[in-house]
């Protein structure tokens, strides 16, 4: 029995290695089609990611919102929910944080308190947007994928309306965003870096909390039951709708915090694409680690490194930086496909 388990674990790792090779092969093929020299591209991505201490710190800056998003998504995925609306939840978090800062900026409150309230407001914004998706699903039977997608578009429109309308810069509004906040409302960063230790800590705490919640608590166990078989869980006396709502709200809370860190620690203002796609990237991370919290942190770090590494592709090699998305996507796709192949082979044995 133990031997069989070990051998299946080894075959699992073998298939995963194969999946990684296939993804690299596919991405290399894509580079060749575009006429780029793959070795040069890979070199550029690596040097762009870890070439200097500032770049390594930038990876951690990107890791923070990705960790927060992934942590939240692990909860909704565990409950069997597809929270595609996470992008909008991050955006609403950023909007609420900006709002709080704008309102409190002229007051005499100490900056630390204002930023603290900014974080709370962000969390609230994310929860409201996630709550809407949940209510639409629970009471309106609207699939969370479509409710969430629609609300993503609404959130983007809301951002643009605010930037060009009520919150526009003195003079004329522009795509560069709202007027930046004064320095005292920027989260402190390590000297010489863009990295804010406080927001990084927030991301790490979030994933740790989710790990513990799912691993060792009654709540996590019940959430899993809801995700595996909602009907059975309901018959066993678990209030399924309440658990679904909770999963959405907690995910919205973390997404909102991700939006808050984008405003307080990275951009210091509201910009049109404030979520930076971290919500969807978080879904990819969660799928790649098969919804296991343990591996989410290192994989998210790797994805963040790819994002940072590809930033200089357009400048140095005249290639679009979306290449990192191709590599990330094909990795997740091939890992899923190879998992299916392995299961099929073991079934047939």
């Amino acid at each position: 029995m133990t031997m069989m388990k070990t051998s299946s674990r080894w075959s699992g790792i073998g298939f995963q290695a194969l999946a990684v090779l296939l993804a690299l092969g596919f991405t290399t093929l894509v580079m060749l089609i575009s006429g780029a020299d793959p070795l040069q591209v890979y070199q550029n991505i690596i040097s762009g990611a870890v070439g200097s201490p500032v770049k390594i710190a930038d990876i951690l800056v990107a890791w923070t919102p990705l960790l927060l998003a992934t942590a939240g998504l692990l909860l909704t995925f565990t409950a069997g929910l597809w929270n595609i609306g996470i992008e909008g939840q991050i955006t609403l978090g950023a909007i609420f944080t900006t709002w709080a800062l704008r309102v409190l900026q002229p007051t005499d409150l100490p900056p630390a308190l204002i930023m603290g309230i900014g974080f709370l407001a962000g969390a609230l914004g994310g929860m409201i947007w996630a709550g809407l998706v949940a209510l639409l699903k629970i009471f309106g039977n609207v699939n969370e994928i479509f409710g969430g997608l629609g609300l993503n578009f609404v959130a983007t429109a809301l951002t643009i309306w605010l930037i060009f309308g009520p919150w526009k810069r003195p003079g004329v509004g522009s795509m560069s965003g709202t007027e930046p906040f004064p320095l005292e409302l920027w989260l402190p960063t390590l000297p010489g870096f863009r990295l804010s230790p406080l927001s990084l800590a927030l991301g790490i705490i979030a994933i740790a909390v989710v790990y513990v919640l799912l691993r060792g608590t009654y709540f996590g166990l019940r959430l899993k039951a809801v995700g595996r078989n909602g009907r059975a869980a309901y018959l066993m006396g678990i209030p399924t709708t309440r658990y679904m709502l909770l999963a959405f709200l907690l995910c919205g809370l973390m997404a909102g915090l991700a939006g808050a860190t984008q405003v307080l620690a990275v951009y210091h203002r509201l910009i049109p694409s404030i979520s930076s796609g971290y919500g969807f990237l978080g879904m990819m991370v969660a799928m790649l680690v098969n919804y296991q919290a343990l591996w989410a942190a290192p994989v998210a770090l790797f994805f963040a490194a790819l994002n940072i590494g590809s930033i200089q592709l357009p400048i140095v090699l005249k290639l679009d930086s979306s290449l990192s998305g191709v590599l990330q996507g094909s990795l997740v796709l091939f890992v899923l496909l190879m998992d299916g192949v392995r299961r099929r082979l073991t079934r047939n044995q």
Binding site: L136, I160, M284, M287, D320, S322, G329, G340, R343
Partner: protein, 332 residues
């Protein structure tokens, strides 16, 4: 606003809805067979880019559309293979493809950005084009728009009035019964998923070679249409006629957004362009809420007359998905 502008506007609504109709009816075929192809948004972007790139490189519109259909079919084949043969989650694979195909389009389309490309010419139908009002709206279009009219009718007749169409309904509703009657459920699911993908794959070049001619990378304005098509499939209740109605309604709203823009100078155009999305949520709410349990309970408490009226209204709006949508089929 004078009548001529309104007529041309309505004609524009029919034209800009044509790609969405192709994608929506393609998805309707796939979902009728029991497979959700969530990759549409990526498929449309990738095929828009590829169709444009091929048409520019070969100076052939036909090859551009062929490339679109081929790539759309290929992406759908990945969805079919991973869900039917490998029993992986359709939603997961479709979502990954939606994102990856989008990035692939932006990456590979980089050299083609802003190039001048061929455009599908307009083809007024002699005689019919001169009919007052109707002529301008319906018969001064290009061949793609006529194809979209035809597709709506053919798809409707096929699904509801032919034997293979009934079989298609069967494999989505009760695959086990269809299997006993001799249908090769999984092979048919492969077929309809790929067919649907090819139709969606035509939607891309319909944008980049006609409706929104050209390729402009992330600012092509095509990101989002795939998700709309998926929502319209539900709104349409897996019925091509109703889906087409939804697509036209959506196109009309977007047009109204553009028309109203000058009279609402404080609202940026990006905001009016997304105006249909809250409406999309609302319509999905309307067609789905009739399925919710609490609605039945609430209705039961209402006076007889109101109850009947509301129940009838909800029933006429309600749509239900094919019973085995997303459920793998094992023929044991």
């Amino acid at each position: 606003m004078d009548t001529q502008i309104i007529l041309i506007g309505l004609a524009g609504v029919l034209a800009s809805s044509a790609p969405i109709i192709f994608a929506t009816i393609g998805e309707t075929f796939a979902e009728r067979s029991g497979v959700i192809n969530l990759s549409l948004n990526g498929t449309i972007l990738l095929t828009a880019m590829a169709g444009f790139a091929v048409a520019v490189s070969t100076n052939s519109l036909v090859l551009g559309f062929l490339a679109g259909a081929l790539i759309g079919g290929l992406v759908a084949l990945i969805v079919a293979f991973s869900s039917i043969t490998l029993k992986q989650s359709q939603v997961a694979v479709g979502f990954i493809l939606a994102l990856t195909c989008r990035d692939l389009a932006y990456y590979l389309g980089n050299p083609f950005m802003g190039l001048q490309g061929p455009r599908v010419p307009s083809l007024p139908i002699p005689g019919l084009a001169d009919i007052p009002i109707i002529g301008v709206i319906f018969f001064q279009q290009d061949i793609l728009v006529y194809a979209s009219f035809l597709l709506i009718i053919v798809a409707y007749v096929f699904i509801f009035k032919t034997r293979p169409g009934l079989m298609l309904q069967g494999i989505g509703e009760k695959p086990a019964t269809a299997f006993v009657r001799g249908a090769n459920v999984n092979r048919m699911r492969y077929f309809y998923t790929v067919l649907g993908g090819m139709l969606a794959g035509l939607a891309g070049p319909m944008f980049s070679l006609s409706v929104k001619a050209g390729w402009k990378g992330t600012i092509s304005g095509l990101d989002g249409f795939g998700w709309i098509a998926l929502a319209l499939t539900i709104f349409g209740g897996w019925n091509p006629l109703r889906a087409a109605f939804g697509a036209y309604l959506f196109g009309l709203l977007q047009w109204l957004g553009l028309v109203l823009q000058p009279s609402l100078p404080n609202i940026p155009s990006q905001v009016l362009q997304v105006a249909p999305f809250p409406l999309m949520i609302l319509t999905l709410l309307l067609v789905n809420i009739g399925n919710a349990e609490w609605v039945d309970r609430t209705l039961a408490a209402l006076p007889e007359k109101t109850r009947k009226w509301l129940a009838n209204l909800l029933r006429s709006l309600r749509t239900s998905p094919p019973a085995s949508l997303g459920v793998p089929f094992e023929n044991e």
